[in-house]
Symmetry: C6
């Protein structure tokens, strides 16, 4: 039995929340392009391109907003 | 009688919510380009292009924000 | 007397809400390019282009967030 | 004395709210490019380009979200 | 001692809120490209390009959403 | 032991909140392209390009929305 790849949006710290946002950003890419080898080939196309890196950062920002709201902004 | 393709935004788990966000992202493409064969032809244009995959991920992030809010972030 | 093209954001179902989001996305295009013939000419430019279809999907996602919030996510 | 170009975000109807969102989208362009003649020259660049029209629609969607929230979604 | 360049998100009117959103949009550019002369050189690249102006308008829309929420939409 | 790079979303002032938003924007780039030398090489690609600077500003705007909400808009 597979374990869930997204058991919860709740994290202990903002830092862990940010890492979850990064993971959520990557998930959509995997679901759209399931071939791991192809994804590996594409890596230099975005990891060495300023505009692509900014676009990745935009996706992370959108997911981080969701994760932060889920955690009530870790106001404690 | 057709069944609804979007009966509810409520899902049992965050993972199912993410999958719904992916489905919501694809729906707009289908409604704008109803020809399934044409969509199939376009598939390599985005599935093998880093920037397109990032853009898909951005759409999923926007829908996931909505689905997560609908589910009160699955806070349980 | 013209009837309103946007009498309400409230819909009975999520599906009808999604269709309203699609309609809201197209409205801005009509208001910016009122010439129907020109819009028809532009149609292949986006309906047969993967990146344009993804961009359309992004606009729909943004409007769907608004419509879903208006309907309190059809929580029932 | 100049009258305000944005006295309120409150509108009577969703339709008027959408029109306000279109106005808000255009305002930023005017403030960034105050030369009306230049703006007129640029008009065909976006009004006859599918991707530009979609981008305009995205800006309107973002402002409409704000106006709709301001009006409590015209729930009545 | 320097005065703060962002003492508050609260403004008296929607119009002043919009102007603050424009200012917030420009701040990130200044922090990323601190060289004022370089920024001046880049000005025609966006002020005379329709797609760049639309992109500026998108950033302003995002900040305006924040400022409007901060001011409880100036509901009065 | 490493200290956290994101201990909290709470800041004393809007200005400090904006600076945190800039930091959050850059974090995703670092996590996607961990090679500092490569990032340095890419710097002119975005710092001297108007559209890239606008895109950076968009990411900052998205994070600032989150930080501002976390701080209840510093309403005091």
């Amino acid at each position: 039995m597979m374990t869930s790849w997204l058991p919860s949006l709740i994290t202990e710290t903002p830092e862990a929340g940010y890492e979850l946002a990064v993971k959520l950003s990557r998930l959509a890419v995997k679901l759209t392009q399931p071939d791991a080898e192809m994804r590996e080939q594409l890596r230099p196309d975005y990891a060495e391109d300023a505009d692509s890196l900014i676009a990745v950062s935009q996706v992370v920002a959108t997911h981080f907003a969701t994760v932060a709201a889920a955690n009530n902004y870790w106001r404690g």
